[in-house]
Amino acid sequence: ERGRMSSRKGGQRPERTSSAEAFYNASEVAKYDASSRMVTTQRHLAKRALQLLQLPPARPCLLLDLGCGSGQSGAALERAGHSWIGVDVSLSMLRSARAPTKPRDALAADIGSRLGFRKGVFDGAVSISAVQWLCFATRPEHDPHKRVKQFFRGLCAVLVPGARAVLQLYPEKPEHMAMLRDAALACGFSGALVVDYPRSEKSKKLFLVLCAPHLPPRAR
C-alpha cells in the first residue's frame, strides 16, 4: 500500500515530504513497478472502481484516469474493453507506462489545476490512490482548498452529464475527507462514500463514488 512505501522516510506519508512529481522520480517509479504487491493492489482497486462505475455492459467507453501513474489502473480499464486517457503530474511515472495494447493515451498535467479537456467528453472517470495528494500543499503557492475545488469543478465539466467518477483514496485525516466531500457537493456532484473492509484499519479502502449532474430538462 502506498502509505507504507516510504519506510526509509521513517514511515511518513509521501504526501507530507514532497510534491507528487518529486516523490515519483525515476527510482521510486522503478520500485513502484517492481513491487508485485503494489501491482496487485492497484489492479484490485482499479477493478473495484470499474465495478462501482456501473458502466452499461458491452459498450466501449472513453474514460479518464486521474493520477494514472504508470498505467496499472488503466490496464484494468483496457481489459474491460474501454479506451482511456490518463493524466499524471509525474513524467517519470508516465514514461514507465508500457503495455502491448493500445487504446490509451496519457498526458502530463496537474489535476489540481485546470484540465485541458473539452466539456462532456468522458463517459466516466477513475482515480486510484491519487486524490489525497490534493489535500497537501506540496508547493509554496498551493492552496489545498482551491486545488480541491478546481479539481471537482474541472472533473464535473469534462464528464458526460450523469456520468460517474470513482475516486479511491487514502485520506490522511477526516478533515481532508470532509474537504473533498464538501467540494464535490459544492460542484454539483451527488454520490456516496463506499468503504470496503470497514473493520480493518489495515485493509480498509475508501471510494468516493460521484455522479455528475444531469442536464436540466430544458437544456437537453
Binding site: V39, A75, I85, A97, A106, L107, A108, A109, D110, G116
Partner: protein, 165 residues
Amino acid sequence: GNKTVSSGERRGALPCARAAPCAATSHQLRLLGLNISYYSPRQLGSLEMKLLTHNMLTSPGQRNGFPLAIEVEKMEVVDADFNADFVARMVEKLEYPALVATVAALPAEVESKLPAEVPTEFAENEEFLRALHHVLLEVDILEGQLVCPETGKKFPIKEGIPSML
C-alpha cells in the same frame, strides 16, 4: 533480469502490432517450463498521442483554446484493431470539423478518406467508420508541440506524452 519478465498483469494482453517477443529470452523461459513471452522494455514502445485524444484537448483555462495546432516532429502510422462499435460511439464526442482540419494539416503520409461532414446513418457506414478509425487511432504523434490557438503557448510532446504542466 526476472523482474522485467511479463508479470501476471500482462498475461492475456494482446501483443502490440509492432512488437514481437524477444525470441532468445522467450525460448530460455520456455526451457524453464514457463510459457511466457518476454518483451524487452524498449520493444514495448512508449505512449503516443492519438488524434482521438488531440480532439479532446483544449488549452487549459482559455476560452478559445480548441483546437490546439500540432507541430509534428516525429509521427508514425500504425495498425490498430478496428472496433466499429467503439468508433461509432466516439463520433458523438468528436468536434468533427476540427478533426478534418487537423488531419489536413498533417504531413502527407497520413491518408485521409474523411468526408467534409459526418454522414447521416454513420453507425452503419463501415467505409466511413474505417476511415475515421484510421485517423483517430492509427496516427501516432511521438514528438512535437501543441500550440494554443489563442495565446500561441506551446505544449511539448515528448515520447508521445503531451505536457500541459
